[in-house]
């Protein structure tokens, strides 16, 4: 029996505090098939990061929701051995060098990780020369590349990327685009949240648009003209203002 890579049904999330409660997601439902590259776009505060965290099992959704990754619950240990995640927040430490950090993660993956894969990815992201530097000595963009490498270590079946191009310079964006194309060809499912609409158009086969915590559109990207997403984005913002 084959399962969808991601199945999210009626996902609602309310952040509760002593004084108030804020609804971050309302009844979000979608599925992603294995091998798809799906983008998640929406304005700031739309609920993209909350959705990613729920899909990764870091946050519980409200009662009544159902989330599965290849038919399994996202916080199961086995699921984490074939799930990659590039976060928008990074860990820094002066005691740990880049290669040591990557090798450590590779070791945590057990038989799935290998030192040769670390070398291969360092080369792909032109970071071989920085492998001995500590995590605190790196620029924001370089550190983001380390996070991207982390996401693809092992043999992930699905990778979640949160603003993967946010701090990257143009050559690094080209490297990433090439790298993602290679991963896509290998059948890796990629789900990524981004504000960079051009990148989303270039990379994704499908785009989900989230606004005010609701999934408002699900666009297949095949045959779309360049600039389609920007137009769609503007249209949704106008509708939002009118509403």
């Amino acid at each position: 029996m084959s399962f969808p890579a991601i199945s999210a049904q009626a996902v609602t999330k309310t952040y509760k505090s002593f004084r108030s409660s804020v609804r971050a997601l309302t009844d979000v439902s979608f599925t992603v098939q294995p091998g798809e590259v799906v983008g998640l776009i929406g304005p700031n505060g739309a609920g993209k990061s909350t959705l990613l965290r729920i899909l990764l099992g870091y946050l519980p959704s409200d009662n009544g929701a159902s989330v599965s990754i290849f038919g399994r619950l996202p916080d199961e240990l086995e699921v984490r051995s074939w799930t990659g995640y590039q976060a928008d927040s990074v860990f820094r430490s002066p005691q740990i060098a880049v290669r040591k950090f990557l090798e450590f993660h590779s070791e945590l993956l057990g038989s799935l990780g290998s030192a040769s894969q670390v070398d291969e990815f360092l080369t792909a992201f032109t970071m071989t020369g920085s492998a001995g530097r500590s995590l605190t000595s790196m620029s924001k963009g370089m550190r983001q590349k380390v996070e991207l490498i982390l996401a693809f270590l092992g043999r992930p079946k699905i990778v979640f990327l949160d603003e993967p191009t946010a701090s990257l310079d143009p050559p690094s964006v080209f490297e990433l685009r090439e790298f993602l194309a290679q991963q896509k060809a290998k059948g890796v499912t990629i789900f990524f949240s981004s504000h960079n609409l051009t990148e989303v158009e270039n990379i994704c086969s499908r785009v989900l648009f989230i606004n005010d915590g609701r999934l408002v559109a699900d666009y297949p990207m095949e045959g779309r003209a360049q600039g389609f997403l920007e137009e769609a984005f503007r249209r949704h913002l106008v509708e939002r203002r009118v509403a």
Binding site: R80, A87, Q95, I96, K100, F104, L150
Partner: protein, 253 residues
Amino acid sequence: MSGRFLTLMRMELRRLMTPVGIAMPIFMLALTGLFAVLEARSAKNVDATRLLSNLISGFTLPFIAPLLGGGMVAWDVKDHWLRTLLMRPMTRTEYLMSRILALYFLTALSVVVITVIAIVAAGAIAEKEIAWNLGRFLPMLLFLLCHGYMIVLLMALLSCWTPGIFNVAMLIFWAIASASVGALVGSFKWDSAILTVGRDFLFPSGFLDAVETMSREGGDIWPHLVWGIASAFGFTGVTIWSINRMNVEGGTE
């Protein structure tokens, strides 16, 4: 222990090797050694068990563990270390135990090294004979190290619920408050059976009480040890429950 757990332990030890993590034991060694020499000069010999029960248990251990591990879990959440680890097939309990054991290992190693060097240095500098009395010294040292585990454990528990190094402040407040209440009960309500028993539950100090009982060479240490072991298991359970309640991207839900 799984290979993954040992890998994590090694990394946790590496993360503790900060300039502060290296300087603090050296600083505490210098201070402990100084106090040991001063005490040795006014005594007829260097009594290793007395130094252990007074200086090491009352000064060195209560300072070194919080200095090395203040804010441990809270900072791991804040600097995204915990989230980074949970990307991998790793349970929160594995993270917590590796963090506690790595800190405990460094604390225990520091305490043992500081104790031995301070005693030997005090004997040499004060030119006094050292009375090791190993039959009492070694069990006392063992119980003291068990108390060190309790301190590290309580810091981990409190840092699951409080930001930054606030856990250290809470631990100090807790220890002082319980000692004060305990002293009041001992002085004014010593004839109340309920309050006297209740005093033991103010702070999980069973192992420390065992050390003090041994240093006085009187009394039964077993009730203290049983209380110490029970509290070690109990608080380990509460700490594991706490870490499993945490939101790894921002604090306790």
